[in-house]
C-alpha cells in the first residue's frame, strides 16, 4: 500500500481522534465519550508502527508521533483523591517511612545533637563569649537579649502588637521550612550538604543555649521553646534523613545502575521530606500563636512534655495497626 492510500484510508479516523484530543485537552471530560479514547489510541499506535515500518515518509511519521504523544499524555494523567491520600500519608505512610530509615534517623540525630551538646557544655564550663559571638554574631546576641533577657513575659510583650503573631507564624514558615528544604537538597552532594547543615545547626543551637544559660533568663527561653521544640527539631532531623537517603542513592547504588539508584532514592526520600515540611508547618503554628503567650511556666512545660511524648509515640506506633503488610507493600512499591 502506498503512503497516500494509507492516509486516505485512515484519514477520517485520525481526524476523529484528533477532534477527541482537542476536546479533552480544552475542557477536561466534556460531553465526550471517554471510553472510546483508549481504543482509538491503540489504533493510532498501530498506525504509527505501520507507517514507520513501511517508511511512509517523515511527514506522516511526525504527524502520527505527535498524535500518539498527545493521547499518551491524556491517558496517563494521574488520578486525584488528594484528601484521602493526605490522610493516609499522615496516619500510615509517613511514620512507616521514618521507621524504615531508622539507621539514617540515628545518623542525622547524632550529627545534630553531639555538636549541640558539645558547644553548650563548653559554654557552661568556659563562659567566654568571644567564641559564642563568632558563632552567633553580635546581632543575634542582642536579639536574644531582647527576647529572653529578663524573666517577666518579655516575649509576650514583644508580641502585643496587633498581627505580630501572624507575622511571626509566616516568618517561621519561610525560615524553618526553608531550612528543611535546604538540608534536603544538600543531600545530593554526596550527603555532605545535609550533614553540614545539621552539624551547623547543632553548633548554632548549642551556642544559643550556652549564651542564654549564662546571660539571659533560662525560664523565659525554655517556656518559649517547650511547645514547638518537639515538632521543629524532629522535623529537622527527618529532613536530614531525607537528604541522606538522596545522597546514599549516589554513594551506594548497590547492584542497581546509577540512574535507577538515584530514581529510587528520590522516591524513598519523598515521604520523609513531605512529612518534615508538614511537621515544621505545625511547629510554626505553635511557635507563632502559642509559645509566646503569657502563661504560667508549668502550663508551658507540661504542654511541651505532652507534645514530645505525642510526637515520639506517633512516629513509633502510628500505622503499625493498619497492618505491617500494607506498610510493606507501600514500601516495596516505593523502593
Amino acid at each position: 500500500m502506498q503512503g497516500k492510500e494509507f492516509q486516505e484510508k485512515n484519514e477520517q479516523r485520525w481526524a476523529e481522534y484528533e477532534q477527541a484530543l482537542n476536546a479533552l485537552e480544552k475542557k477536561g471530560e466534556g460531553r465526550l465519550d471517554v471510553a472510546r479514547l483508549p481504543a482509538m489510541f491503540k489504533e493510532i499506535c498501530t498506525d504509527l508502527a505501520l507507517s514507520r515500518h513501511r517508511m511512509y515518509g517523515v511527514a506522516m511519521n511526525e504527524r502520527l508521533n505527535g498524535l500518539v504523544i498527545r493521547g499518551h499524555k491524556l491517558i496517563h494523567r494521574r488520578a486525584g483523591g488528594t484528601w484521602e491520600q493526605l490522610l493516609r500519608f499522615v496516619t500510615v505512610d509517613f511514620p512507616v517511612a521514618v521507621r524504615a530509615e531508622w539507621r539514617l534517623f540515628w545518623v542525622a540525630t547524632l550529627t545534630f545533637i553531639l555538636p549541640m551538646l558539645g558547644v553548650a557544655l563548653a559554654g557552661f564550663y568556659w563562659p567566654d563569649f568571644s567564641w559564642v559571638e563568632v558563632v552567633l554574631g553580635s546581632e543575634m546576641m542582642s536579639s536574644l537579649d531582647s527576647m529572653y533577657g529578663e524573666s517577666d513575659g518579655q516575649i509576650a510583650h514583644l508580641r502585643s502588637e496587633y498581627g505580630s503573631n501572624f507575622m511571626m507564624f509566616c516568618h517561621y514558615i519561610m525560615n524553618n521550612i526553608g531550612i528543611d528544604f535546604r538540608i534536603y537538597a544538600g543531600g545530593i552532594l554526596a550527603c555532605l550538604g545535609s550533614l553540614f547543615f545539621l552539624f551547623y545547626n547543632g553548633v548554632y543551637f548549642g551556642a544559643v543555649i550556652a549564651y542564654i544559660h549564662v546571660a539571659c533568663s533560662k525560664e523565659s527561653f525554655y517556656t518559649f521553646v517547650a511547645g514547638h521544640s518537639s515538632f521543629e527539631l524532629i522535623a529537622m532531623v527527618i529532613a536530614g534523613m531525607a537528604g541522606l537517603r538522596v545522597g546514599l542513592g549516589l554513594l551506594h547504588p548497590g547492584r542497581k545502575t546509577m540512574r535507577r539508584s538515584l530514581m529510587d532514592a528520590g522516591k524513598r526520600s519523598l515521604p520523609l521530606i513531605f512529612g518534615a515540611a508538614l511537621m515544621t508547618f505545625v511547629a510554626a503554628g505553635i511557635e507563632g500563636f502559642w509559645s509566646a503567650r503569657d502563661l504560667p511556666p508549668m502550663v508551658k512545660y507540661t504542654t511541651g512534655v505532652i507534645m514530645w511524648v505525642l510526637v515520639v509515640a506517633y512516629l513509633i506506633f502510628a500505622g503499625r495497626s493498619v497492618g505491617v503488610g500494607a506498610g510493606r507493600r507501600g514500601n516495596q512499591r516505593e523502593a
Partner: protein, 242 residues
C-alpha cells in the same frame, strides 16, 4: 527516523517505547533554551514579588502592617519554593517561562509528571544551582547525561522536552521519469535516507542537491547531475515497490 539507536546521532531525539508497543520520539531540550526559560521565570517571579509586595503594602493600611509583612513573607516563600513545583505538576507540565519557550517537563516514559516528581526536581534546584548563580552542577550533569538531565531530573526521573513539534519544512522534488532499481540491496536506514532525500529535495538549490548526491556516488555510480537523477530514480523505485 528509524528504530536503531546504537550509533551516536546528531539529533536530540529520544525514542521511548510505550506500553502499547510503539515508539514515540521526544525532542530533548538543551541547556540554552532552558536557561532562557529560567531567566523568563526569574523575571516573572521578580515582577510578581515587586507588584504584589506593593499591593500588600497598600493593603497594610487596612490589614495592619504586621499582617501585610507576614503575607509578604508567605509570598516570598511560595515564589522561592512552590512556583515551579505547582506549575510543573499542573496541567501544562511547565512553568510559564518554559511554556513561552515551548518546553514541557515529562516523565522519562513521556507521561506527565506527578506532584512528587515536580517537588523533587525543583527542590534540587538548590543543589543544581551551586555555585550560585551559575547552575554549575546542573550544567555539568546535563552535559554528562544523554538526555540533558540535571541532578533534579535524574532524581525525579524527568526530562525537559519540546512540547510543540517543529513545523516541518518539506518540499518534495517532482517524481522523476525513470524509475531505477538500486544495484545492491539497501538496508532500511539507507532506504529511508534515499526517501528523505527526495522528500526534502525541493528545499535546496540544485548545487546543494548535487553536492549531497555526490556522497552516494558509490551507489549511483556517477557524480554530478547524472548521479543525482539516478538517486532520485532509485527513491522513486523504492516508493513504488512498497
Amino acid at each position: 527516523m528509524l528504530h536503531g539507536r546504537q550509533e551516536p546521532r546528531l539529533d536530540t531525539l529520544q525514542s521511548i517505547e510505550l506500553a502499547e508497543g510503539v515508539e514515540i520520539h521526544l525532542r530533548m531540550a538543551g541547556p540554552y533554551v532552558r536557561v532562557l526559560a529560567y531567566l523568563l521565570d526569574l523575571l516573572i517571579r521578580g515582577g510578581v514579588s515587586v507588584g504584589v509586595g506593593l499591593l500588600l503594602m497598600l493593603a497594610g493600611a487596612v490589614l495592619g502592617f504586621n499582617v501585610a509583612t507576614g503575607l509578604n513573607m508567605l509570598l516570598t516563600f511560595f515564589l522561592m519554593f512552590f512556583y515551579y513545583i505547582l506549575f510543573e505538576a499542573g496541567k501544562h507540565g511547565a512553568s510559564p517561562g518554559k511554556r513561552v519557550m515551548g518546553l514541557r517537563v515529562v516523565d522519562t516514559s513521556g507521561a506527565p509528571i506527578s506532584f512528587g516528581q515536580s517537588f523533587i526536581r525543583n527542590m534540587l534546584r538548590f543543589a543544581d544551582g551551586m555555585p550560585i548563580p551559575f547552575y554549575g552542577f546542573g550544567l555539568l550533569s546535563m552535559l554528562a547525561t544523554q538526555r540533558f538531565q540535571r541532578l533534579g531530573d535524574l532524581l525525579a526521573n524527568t526530562v525537559v522536552v519540546y512540547d510543540r513539534l517543529p513545523h516541518l519544512q518539506m518540499a518534495a522534488l517532482p517524481p522523476v521519469l525513470e524509475s531505477r532499481a538500486p544495484g545492491v540491496p539497501l538496508t532500511r536506514e539507507e532506504q529511508a535516507a534515499l526517501a528523505g532525500f527526495r522528500e526534502r529535495g525541493g528545499m535546496w538549490s540544485e548545487a546543494r542537491r548535487i553536492e549531497l548526491a555526490d556522497h552516494a556516488s558509490e551507489l549511483s555510480g556517477a557524480t554530478g547531475v547524472t548521479g543525482m537523477s539516478r538517486l532520485l530514480g532509485m527513491a522513486h523505485w523504492l516508493g513504488e515497490k512498497h
